[in-house]
Each structure stands twice: as structure tokens, then as C-alpha cells.
Amino acid sequence: MPTQLQPLAQPAPRQGTRRTAVGLKNVSRSYGGPGVPAVQALAGVSLRADSDELLAVVGPSGCGKSTLLELICGLQAPDEGSIACAPAALMPQHDLLLPWLNAIDNAGLALRIAGLSRSEARRRAAPLFAELGLEGFQRADPRELSGGMRQRVAFLRTLLSGKPVLCLDEPFGALDAITRAEMQEWLALALAREPRTVVLVTHDVEEACVLADRIAVLSRRPGRVIEELGVELPRPRARTDLELIALRELALTALARGSAGEPA
């Protein structure tokens, strides 16, 4: 059974008519309550992702990246600014597979919630489950799966929600370097097969360079966009590609500026 994805014979058209799938204008968000000093997570963030584009958001830890995703998914409302966004599904930082469901039932959770029966949800999830390298693990308990496999199932669960926008919160942050590289490759192929608009939050600049069409660098808290980089490199991308290395340095420099707290 294919544990590796075959690239599509004809890559999905990435150019052409483009619509904005995610648009944030001057969005600010603070936390705090009576008696608690307010913490500003985001300050005047403007971002845009076109449909079927992968926007990577990189930033130092605690820069409000997770807040950003929750805003896009409608789990929170901004204090200021406006958000115009196609329906978005969140893949949380920890896979959050439900231990009482097997792998394919976890993948098809959104279908169950949409009202399908268990067998119908399994039937619908099965083709992608097999294509994305999970064949044979349908009935596995989440705790029997490796970290990489768990992330695949969690991604599939997000994909099967049917939302046009996927928000991935450090999806490979907890994986070892080799598995992470494998999973990045896997994600690129999965998106080539099932194109979606993706907002990928990561602290790994290289990951952003390998996967993204566009990179937004956030400053440390309160998060602001201090750099936006378009990535025009052809795919599949090699980490050792000189242009990619140059891009990575550019992003790292911006990140260093943002971490130092340079005023925008």
C-alpha cells in the first residue's frame, strides 16, 4: 500500500483567478479582566491569503500566533479591526485525537458531527485515509500511532471538515527532525492533491520556506507583521536550494528584528 504520495500528473493550477480567502485588517486583540493587567496579543495585524495559497506565519514564541488562528476560525472576536474570511477549520497544536475513537473515526469526526452515520463517515474518509499514507491503520487506537501518524490523522480530520481554509497551529512542532521533514513533504503532496487555503503557524523558518507561498513574520508580543515575503520558488523544494537558503536568511533576519522588539 502506498505510504508515500504520488504527485499528481497535472499539478493543480496555482495561478489564475484568485480570490482572497483570508483577510485581516488592523486586527488587535488583548486579554485581561478586572484586576488583571491586560496583555495585548496582537496589535494592528493585517494579513491576506488568496484561495489555495499557503500563508506561513512565523514569529517568536508568545507572539499571538495561536490567537491569530482562533480569530480566523471565529473562536474569538477581535477587539479592533475586521476579519473577512471563508469558513476555517483549526488543527490544534496537540493532535487532540479522541482516545475512544479509532484512527478513521477520528479522521471522520467532522462528518459524524455533520450528521452522517459511523459507517457512512468511514466510507467517505476511507479514500483519503488510504491516499495519505494511512492505509492499514484504520482501526488503530490513537495511542498505537506514532507522532507523525497522529498528525496525519489530525490533518485529515481538519481536511474532512470540508472548510476551504485550514489553520494549522505548529503541526509538526513536537516531532523529531527527520519525521518533521517527512511530514512537510507529505503535507505539500497532500495539499497538491487536495488544494486548500492554509494558514500555517510555525516557529520553524525553514518549514515556512519549504512550504509557503507567502511568509508573514510577526514581532514579539504584541504581535505585528514586520515583514511579508512572497515565495516564488518552484516545487518540490529542496532545503539545500540556494534561493531557499537566501530566503531563509531574509526571514531569520526579520525574525531577529521582531524578537528584539524593534518598532514597526
Partner: protein, 275 residues
């Protein structure tokens, strides 16, 4: 389970199935206890009416096997039905309390207070309502047994991972679906623990119920039998009946442990492999 190379790591799990060694410890313990008991009685410390020797209890058990079996039947029915009702009531109340803070404030103190009500106070009323049949006994058992299920289930429902609930919210789950896919399965192991406690106190609950509410019929239950034997100074037979209750409680407990493997396998064995 066993490979030709022997176990890869020491087995600490005391499942005991198919392992004579696991049975050895309880058998030894029981033997020691029985021996001490026998020696104590042989030393003439007490009267046989107060404490019969184990061998005379064994004889009483053997000679009265038919009588005891006939009396176990109504008691087992009371415990079985009572526990089922108590599980249902405890569980439903727990869900209601979990869903509604108002109910929590209103019902929880009453449920706690219900545990302090001496059965003798309400027994005449129960008999007045339902007579000498099984219903007054069921009421008493339910009253005693619903509480551990209620408390453990309420705690289990509250202990659900909030991130799982948030995930379900992003997938647009309804309140009912959040309950169905996250809270209910998360609470199930705790609810089953409560059921185990309920089961064991249910057996003594049946004794209390039979003591407090009279029964018509030849075989009125083990609790009734124990009281009659004690009054008639048939102490060995009372002990024999108590032994049957003892064994019945243990059997029920382990039957439920088996059910737990079926109902909530994610809460039982560590099956973690590649991670």
C-alpha cells in the same frame, strides 16, 4: 502472551487469568486468616454462639446449600435491579448537574443529605407504599448506591479536556455532540469506578433493606436469613449466609471489571507502542 524468549519485561498487572501464581497470594492470605480464626475459637476464647469455628461454618454451608441458594436468589435480584436503577439515576443526575449549574446548587446538597437518612426512619413509609415485595428493598438499595455513581460521574464529566471541547467547537459540534463525543466517553471510566463502589455497598444495602422491610414468602433473602438465624442462635448458618454474600460481592465486582474492558478499553490497559 508468552514468547519463547520469556517475558520482555516484568509483569506487574494482576489480571491473574491463566497465572496460578497470581492466585497464590489471595489463597494463602485466606488460609492464614482461616487458620488464625480456627485457632482463636479452639482456644476457647468465645462461645460458639458468638463466633463459630470456620469448619462449623463450612459444615453449615454444605448442609444448607439448598436453603442458602434459594435465599441468594431474591437478594441477587434486589442487588442486580437496585444497582441498575442506581446506575441510571446516579448517571442521569450527574449529567443534569453537569449541564445545569442551577441544578448543581439545588440537587447536590440534597443528594449528600440523602446519605445520612437512617433507613429505619423511612422503612415504615416504604412498606406502607409498596408492601412486603421487592420495591421497598429496591428503594433502599438505590438510595444507598446512586451516590457513589453520582459523585464520580460529576467529577468525570468536569475533568474532560477543555481543548477537546474547543476542537469540537471548531468542528461545529452541538452541545449534545460535545457531550456524546467528548464528555460522555471521558467520564465513563470514572462512572464505572463509581459503579464498582455502588456494587459493593449494594450488597450490604440489600442486607439493610431486608432487615428493615419485612418480606412474605419462604425464601426472603440472605439478609433476612442471617437475622432469623442470629435470633435462633443458628450462628454457623448465619455465618454461612454471610460467606455467600461475601463471595457474591466479589463475583459482582470482578464481573464489572470485565465489563469495563468492553465499555472503556481506552482507560484500562497500557497499549502504548510506537510514540
Amino acid at each position: 502472551m508468552s514468547s519463547p524468549l520469556g517475558p520482555a519485561r516484568p509483569r506487574y498487572r494482576a489480571t491473574g487469568r491463566g497465572r496460578p501464581v497470581a492466585l497464590l497470594a489471595p489463597v494463602l492470605l485466606v488460609a492464614v486468616l482461616l487458620g488464625a480464626w480456627e485457632a482463636y475459637v479452639d482456644a476457647g476464647s468465645t462461645s460458639a454462639f458468638v463466633l463459630p469455628a470456620p469448619h462449623s461454618v463450612a459444615v453449615a454451608l454444605w448442609e444448607n446449600a439448598g436453603l442458602l441458594a434459594a435465599n441468594l436468589q431474591p437478594t441477587a435480584v434486589e442487588v442486580g435491579l437496585g444497582i441498575l436503577l442506581a446506575l441510571g439515576l446516579g448517571f442521569l443526575l450527574a449529567v443534569a448537574i453537569h449541564m445545569s449549574p442551577g441544578l448543581r446548587r439545588g440537587v447536590y446538597p440534597l443528594a449528600i443529605g440523602s446519605q445520612a437518612v437512617p433507613i429505619a426512619v423511612i422503612a415504615p413509609l416504604l412498606v406502607f407504599w409498596w408492601g412486603f415485595g421487592v420495591f421497598p428493598k429496591l428503594f433502599v438499595i438505590v438510595l444507598i448506591c446512586f451516590f457513589p455513581v453520582l459523585v464520580t460521574t460529576v467529577d468525570g464529566l468536569a475533568a474532560v479536556d477543555p481543548d477537546q471541547l474547543k476542537l469540537l467547537r471548531t468542528l461545529e459540534a452541538s452541545r449534545w455532540q460535545a457531550f456524546r463525543f467528548a464528555e460522555l466517553p471521558a467520564a465513563l471510566p470514572a462512572a464505572i469506578s463509581g459503579a464498582r463502589i455502588a456494587l459493593t455497598v449494594g450488597v450490604i444495602g440489600a442486607y439493610i433493606a431486608e432487615s428493615q422491610t419485612a418480606t412474605v414468602g419462604t425464601y426472603a433473602g440472605l439478609g433476612h436469613e442471617i437475622n432469623a438465624d442470629l435470633t435462633a442462635l443458628q450462628t454457623p448458618r448465619a455465618y454461612a449466609a454471610a460467606v455467600v454474600l461475601f463471595a457474591f460481592a466479589i463475583a459482582c465486582f470482578y464481573a464489572l471489571a470485565l465489563a469495563e474492558r468492553r465499555l472503556a478499553p481506552w482507560a484500562v490497559g497500557p497499549r502504548r507502542e510506537a510514540r
